[in-house]
């Protein structure tokens, strides 16, 4: 692996400002012309506990966190010891140094804050020995002292950034500019002093490493965005002006962004008592003629099962988000997993139909959220965007003009009052809400308050006018019509711009199948495998339900074998594929990871090699390789 890239990891305690510092670091690199990808790892606690963020910067496009990293800025966990409180905070100030060493690449650089732990604690880590073995370059610096001298302890971050800039030969003015823009008064001045002092001190060091920040050029105007922002902006641009929710990690981020902006966009946001109410409210608002959404994570989404089915039965368009985290139950709240696929596909009673999108990253999150609204309103059906904590938190540099698109407040087949006059009515004046023979299965609707559109709708099976009706012929007519929508939606999606993504040579011998957030990592692995002489291509599935039968069949028929890469323990997408296609069982194997961390490209490379070449060892203990049936 060459170091034409920088993967900078900043580690510390939760609450030490790791997230904001890394964000600024990423912005500085982006302004310097590099492409950015960040990866965030944090514990489920507010203050204290080891947390880190990686910023990967490259001249070329970056689609994953990469393998390991090559620069560690370890701040020490300032919340690891708190003798004033009864609660046990532990005594592990050195954790941010100790816990990050395993993934540091050969030749990597370590800067650690000596202000927070004693030298003898470092000695226990065998740092010197390991550094020699791995060709690491270690720079112990008392960051706390630099921070204290010019300001306060918390500015250790800024001191660390100053040291980093000097060691990597970065232009420090990018950081000065960010501090000037984001801070004011004494804080601004103190931080500038801390930065300058640290930068100067590092110039005095004897540099033993040769790692430098890559150079890049980017003429475009860029935005640094995470998946949550992207989803929220997609919803806003698609005309969504109503959101109801209940906080739950990691969905909270989208909810927060939407809530903060809904007022100025003329919309309404509601934090309500539970997720049942939240989804039911999205439904109520949509019924009354507004584009509406709700969302949650696994456990909260479980509560939405009822309103989801109601939306399907009453043919009320809604968009729900499902931000997956490791389960079952509350599982691991801050760790990503793709374990809720079956939950999202099958929850709710009856032959319930919904549309499911699984964006692959930040850009796709924007596009597919928009498509989810479009499909939901055009077809009067619930649409779900399923994503995970990885997409939620990762920052990508995205060209600003990507977001320069028209809004779409179109509610789909909602009749105007003039059209209602021409529409079919019962002789009593009731509007024929549900036409069993409607084109594409979609019967035009009206909203309360419109003259001539009066009707009833119900979660029970109903007749054409929305009145409860258990007549067998009526049941079959309306049930079939509702399910028919899925076929039309599949055709619509296949024709549209939002589609599955492919990588690698078309005539490749082997295949890798993935869905959602692992796409970028898989694609990077595919590039590397082909560079190494393998013949492999990948499909990243994003339009997930209705199942992309034609595309998957074509892909799987064209390869000898394929591995399905997903972040869960039971191979849910592989299972879905076999269920939907009814074959390929002997062609498909699984590469699974469910330890709370997303795949790294090297794990996919290893997994692929293990699956096609039995001489190769099965990858490390974090992944599971499940051979194809019949092997």
């Amino acid at each position: 692996m060459t170091d034409t890239e920088l993967i900078w990891r900043i580690a510390g305690g939760s609450g030490d400002g790791i997230a904001s510092t890394s964000q600024n670091f990423a912005k500085a690199l982006m302004r310097a012309g590099l492409n950015i990808f960040t990866h965030r790892h944090y514990p489920s606690r507010i203050r204290g506990g080891h947390t880190y963020v990686e910023v990967r910067a490259k001249d070329e496009e970056v689609t994953s966190r990469g393998d390991g990293y090559n620069f560690l800025l370890s701040l020490g966990d300032s919340f690891a010891r708190n003798p004033a409180e009864d609660a046990y905070y532990g005594n592990e100030e050195r954790k941010p140094l100790a816990e990050n060493l395993d993934e540091l690449r050969d030749g990597g650089v370590i800067v650690y804050d000596t202000g927070l732990f004693d030298e003898d604690e470092v000695a226990e880590l065998n740092l010197e020995e390991r550094a020699e073995e791995n060709n690491w370059h270690v720079y112990p610096v008392n960051l706390r002292e630099i921070a204290r001298e010019h300001g306060r302890d918390v500015m250790r971050n800024t001191a660390g950034v100053g040291i980093t800039a000097a060691l990597l030969g970065m232009d420090v003015s990018y950081f000065e500019e960010l501090i000037t823009q984001n801070m004011s008064g004494d804080i601004q001045e103190d931080n500038l002093n801390v930065l300058a002092d640290a930068y100067e001190q590092a110039q005095e060091f004897e540099f033993t490493h040769d790692l430098e920040v890559p150079t890049g050029e980017n003429e475009q105007e860029l935005a640094l965005m995470n998946g949550s922002q992207s989803i929220a902006y997609g919803a806003i641009d698609e005309g969504c002006r109503f959101i109801a929710g209940y906080p739950m990690t990691p969905w909270t981020e989208v909810f927060t962004i939407m809530s903060q902006h809904m007022g100025k966009f003329g919309g309404v946001s509601e934090q309500v008592e539970d997720e049942i109410a939240a989804a039911a409210m999205a439904l109520g608002a949509s019924h009354a003629g507004v584009k509406a959404m709700s969302g949650s994570s696994g456990g909260g989404f479980a509560l939405m099962s009822e309103p989801l089915g109601l939306a399907e039965m009453t043919e009320t368009p809604i968009v729900l988000l499902e931000a997956m985290r490791a389960g079952p139950s509350t599982g691991m709240p801050t760790k990503p997993e793709q374990g809720d696929l079956e939950h999202v596909l099958y929850t709710s009673q009856g032959d319930s139909a919904r549309v499911v999108f699984a964006p692959a990253g930040v850009k796709e999150a924007y596009e597919q959220t928009r498509t989810a609204f479009e499909i939901a309103y055009d077809y009067q059906i619930p649409a779900i965007v399923v994503y995970d904590q990885k997409i939620e938190g990762e920052l990508r540099s995205v060209p600003v003009d990507f977001f320069d698109r028209e809004t779409n407040p179109d509610l789909g087949k909602v009749l105007s009052e003039a059209e209602i006059k021409e529409a079919a009515h019962h002789e009593s004046g009731a509007f024929q809400r549900f036409d069993p023979d409607a084109e594409d299965g979609v019967s035009p609707r009206t909203v309360p308050g419109q003259k001539g559109g009066r009707h009833l709708t119900s979660g029970n099976e109903t007749n054409d006018y929305g009145h409860i009706d258990e007549d067998p012929d009526n049941r079959v007519a309306h049930m079939s019509r509702r399910l028919e929508k899925l076929d039309t939606i599949r055709e619509d999606l296949d024709e549209g711009e939002t589609n599955q993504a492919y990588r690698g040579p078309e005539d490749a011998r082997y295949g890798i199948v993935t869905w959602g957030s692992q796409q970028g990592t898989v694609f990077e692995a595919v590039d590397r495998l082909n560079d190494e002489g393998h013949s492999v291509k990948a499909i990243g599935v994003s339009d997930l339900m209705p199942y992309p039968e034609a595309e998957m069949t074509e892909f799987l028929e064209s390869v000898e074998e394929a591995i399905v890469v997903e972040m869960n323990a039971s191979g849910q997408f592989k299972g879905l594929t076999q269920k939907e296609l009814g074959r390929f069982g002997d062609k498909l194997s699984s590469l699974l990871k469910y330890n709370g961390n997303p795949f790294e490209p090297a794990e996919i490379v290893d997994g692929f090699e293990a699956s096609i070449d039995e001489e190769t060892d099965i990858p490390g203990n974090s992944t599971t390789f499940v051979p194809a049936a019949g092997d």
Binding site: Y233, F242, G266, A282, Q450, L456
Partner: protein, 311 residues
């Protein structure tokens, strides 16, 4: 032409307009108290002066929730306990709608209890009618949250060990701004109370005592009622939260002792509705949100302005 021209129509309204021309599937038993609620509601509508097309009724599940099968307006028959969140979102989407939510005691005080508390707290401008017959009817006679302590049913064969819910007190402590109880056997009062409740600008909770002749033959709904407003024995200030609270305690104690007190128990006129509160702090547009989607000239802002740009 306005997108919602049914709203604000000014004309004489006949109760019979609310009778659907579509024959509903019969689910109410002969002698059911629910017929009285339907009748009172239909009679209230001309008084209120709103046409069927500017009214949205949202119901839950159960016999009571079949109300909108018999009441012809825009209607949404939803699911167990969830009428209120649907109703209040519709109200937020289009505050010009007359929103009436309805359901039974199991639906509203049991499975939907949490929503009841929070909807009252927010003081949405809507009416919530709870058909209280102290029993689960449609599931064939199980003990409900308002069934008296000791009530025997197939699911509680030894008699319920639980004290019943006190819906009026619950509404008051939760924050409802209009609270009344009426009864199926008192049609005039029922019509008056429903009229007031619908006209009230805030969350109006009406606990409507109904009888279930099939599953709850022992219920005390057949006992003559006292209207506290007509009786000289009861003198309290319905605008005073503490006095109203004490009165409600008395009413709720006496219900299971066989003395049925009905009437208005709390009315708070000057409290802003939730819509007004939200508009005042800039969390809600002045014009009904739903109208914007029907306005071809409406301006729709893009997220573009939210992007933090870097060159």
């Amino acid at each position: 032409m306005s997108a919602f021209s049914a709203i604000g129509e000014d004309r004489e309204i006949d109760s019979e307009e609310y009778t659907p021309g579509i024959e509903p599937q019969a689910t109410w038993c002969p002698g059911c108290g629910d017929f009285s609620v339907l009748k009172a509601l239909k009679q209230a509508m001309p008084e209120v002066g709103r046409t069927p097309e500017e009214v949205l009724t949202v119901t839950g599940i159960g016999c009571s929730s079949k109300l909108n099968s018999y009441f012809d307006s825009y209607g949404f028959h939803s699911i167990h306990g969830r009428s209120l969140p649907i109703a209040r979102a519709a109200k937020l989407a289009n505050p010009d709608l007359e929103v009436i939510a309805a359901g039974g005691d199991g639906d509203g005080y049991g499975i939907g209890g949490n929503h009841f508390m929070h909807t009252a707290r927010e003081n949405h401008d809507m009416t919530y009618i709870v058909f209280n017959n102290e029993i689960f009817g449609l599931t064939k006679g199980q003990t409900s949250p308002t069934s008296p302590k000791g009530h025997k049913s197939k699911t509680q064969p030894h008699g319920s060990a639980k004290s019943p819910i006190r819906p009026l007190s619950l509404a008051l402590t939760s924050g409802a701004s209009y609270i009344a109880r009426t009864a199926a056997v008192n049609p005039n009062q029922a019509k008056e109370i429903l009229t007031e409740a619908i006209e009230h600008d805030g969350f109006a909770h009406v606990d409507f005592l109904t009888q279930c002749p099939t599953w709850n033959k022992d219920a005390k709904q057949y006992v003559p009622y006292t209207d506290v407003q007509d009786s000289e024995d009861y003198d309290f200030d319905i605008t005073d939260r503490r006095e109203a609270g004490e009165m409600m305690h008395e009413v709720e104690d006496k219900l299971y002792e066989g003395e049925i007190l009905t009437g208005r128990f709390y009315v708070e006129e000057d409290r802003p509705s939730y819509t007004e509160e939200k508009q005042a702090i800039g969390e809600m547009p002045e014009e009904p949100l739903a109208e914007k989607y029907f306005d071809e000239d409406a301006e729709w802002d893009r997220s573009y302005d939210l992007l933090e740009r870097h060159t």
